[in-house]
Amino acid sequence: MSALELVQAVCDGLLFGATYAVIGIGFTLIFGVMHKLNMAYAAASLAGAYASLLVLHFVHAPALVVFVLAGAAAGVFGLIVYLCCFRFIPLAAPLAPLMATIGMLMLIDESIVQLTEGMPLPYPVLFDDVMLYLGELTFRGDLLLVFGVGLACMGLMLFLLYRTRLGLATRAVAQQSMAAQLCGVRLTRLNALTFALTGLFGGIAGAMIGASVGTLSPLLMLPVTIKGLIVAVIGGLGSIPGAIAAGLLVGAFENLFQFLRGVTERDIYVMLLLFVFLVLRPGGIFAAGRGRD
């Protein structure tokens, strides 16, 4: 075990961490506008990736088309989750959407297990034969693609949030939904749009997970959900720069411990990382220092 191998493991993890960052941003954004957790978000995203495989049944589509379709399908799933778990439940019952989305998570998970008979399905990969050498370090082409697409998703999300009227409305609702409504923001429409858009990016992240692992399996559902949630919490619920940093951190940390302690133990250390953050920085990475209340 040399220092080089450690650095290599951290770099691979950082590249893969881009997917966690995108999923974490999705959790954070939905929390930001609705102040509720959508537990089914990662499941809906992966379901989108699954749905995009359907097109390969009919035509021989290039990998890029499949990735885009995954985003579109996950956007639709995001909208369905919104309609089933948030739209018709009164705001004053905070437990109900939480339980409903957990139910949705179980429903999506179980449907996929039933439809695929629990078998992992192969997912199209791109650039898996490309290798980039940088000094002593090697970078896998497919992981670089994952990282690049992840960065592009984050850039697009930040652009949407900070440079468009839709983003302005979203941020207004996150700050004060009543005031935003008084300024003419249509709350239901905006919420639905947020779910569809975060779903879209989540679907692309789901496709990236599939493309870097090479397969999609129902076993991914819960770990990705939990890591997305952990990323959102470590970054500070509601903070987008926090989610980006936390996603990369969790990716690197996970791969480092996979290298040091093996694949079965690595997730324990990710959970421990969460508890370290809860003790030392409960407000998230970029939270302003707060006095005791």
């Binding site: 439940i89 437990l95 939480l98 339980m99 139910g103 179980m106 079965t264 997730d267």
Partner: protein, 301 residues
């Protein structure tokens, strides 16, 4: 007959899980840690009877105590965050416990065979009841004895000053704090009590199934645990008990003929129930109406 006795055992253990979630929910905290507590209790009590050769009652007590200590330790960092962050923290805790037991090997020779937890294979041969000649009926009564004890303790707590303090924190933390309630102490105590009850349930579960493995302690189990008090409403412990009977007795056992589709239906049913009755099946308004119905005309105010 044995089928119904076995079902009664499952109901008893799930009642303990539900009560564990109930007491934390009284303080307004939603935790998904019950599956982790349950696993710790199951492994500790199982190892004490199988490897150390203890009697079942001290083993259960020790399992419950260890779980309570873990719950107390986990409560301090977890309760620094409130509301939905706590859900995430406790989910992570539950998964960490599950993964810990997935990697946990501790086997000893006992006669001809090796016994003890073996990672992903699970922990087989927890044969205290068969070895000591307990019949299924006796085991069932033993489990329900503990359930009755926990129910009575919680019912009494609910009626005492302690119960009022718990509910005060659940209703409005700031109001409770302003009348001199120590929020941290109340929440950590509730979490510790929840750990003790769930650990007890885990110990009983390990002994009646004789085989435990990490795959039984997933998020699904935690969801069940928190679903009981939410469905049953928080007006009384008996709501939780009724929810356990309804979910495990009717939904899980009664719909077994649906086979694999049952699990699909389960998720859909939760979504539907939360849309139709967002405050629980037995919310405060319904409970009052029921009370009035049973009290008869003029009997209730």
């Amino acid at each position: 007959m044995d089928f119904y006795l076995g079902l009664a055992q499952t109901l008893g253990v799930h009642a303990l899980l539900g009560l564990s979630a109930y007491i934390v929910l009284l303080t307004g905290q939603v935790t998904m840690a019950q599956a982790g507590f349950f696993a710790i209790g199951a492994y500790v009590a199982g190892m004490l009877t199988v490897i150390a050769g203890w009697h079942i009652v001290p083993a259960l007590a020790a399992g419950s105590l260890v779980t309570a200590l873990v719950a107390c330790a986990i409560a301090f960092p977890a309760l620094r965050v409130r509301g939905l962050m706590l859900v995430v923290a406790t989910i992570a805790f539950g998964e960490a416990v599950r993964l810990f037991f997935f990697n946990f090997d501790y086997q000893v020779w006992r006669g001809e065979i090796q016994v003890g937890p073996l990672g992903g294979e699970g922990f087989r041969q927890i044969r205290y009841f068969p070895e000591h000649g307990w019949s299924t009926l006796e085991v069932m009564l033993f489990i329900w004895g503990w359930v009755a004890l926990a129910l009575a303790a919680l019912w009494w707590t609910d009626r005492s000053r302690t119960g009022a303090v718990l509910r005060a924190v659940g209703e409005d933390e700031i109001a409770a704090q302003s009348v001199g309630v120590n929020l941290t102490a109340v929440k950590v105590s509730a979490m510790t009590a929840a750990g003790a009850i769930a650990g007890l349930g885990g110990g009983l579960y390990a002994h009646y199934t004789t085989h435990i493995e990490q795959g039984s302690f997933t998020l699904v189990l935690a969801t069940f645990a928190i679903a009981y008090p939410i469905l049953g409403g928080l007006s009384s412990v008996f709501g939780t008990l009724a929810a356990v009977l309804f979910v495990q007795g009717f939904l899980v056992e009664g719909l077994r003929f649906l086979g694999d589709w049952r699990n699909l239906l389960f998720g859909a049913l939760i979504v539907l129930a939360m849309n139709l009755r967002p405050r629980g099946l037995l919310d405060a308004a319904t409970a009052t109406r029921l009370k009035r119905l049973f009290a008869g005309p003029g009997g209730a105010r």
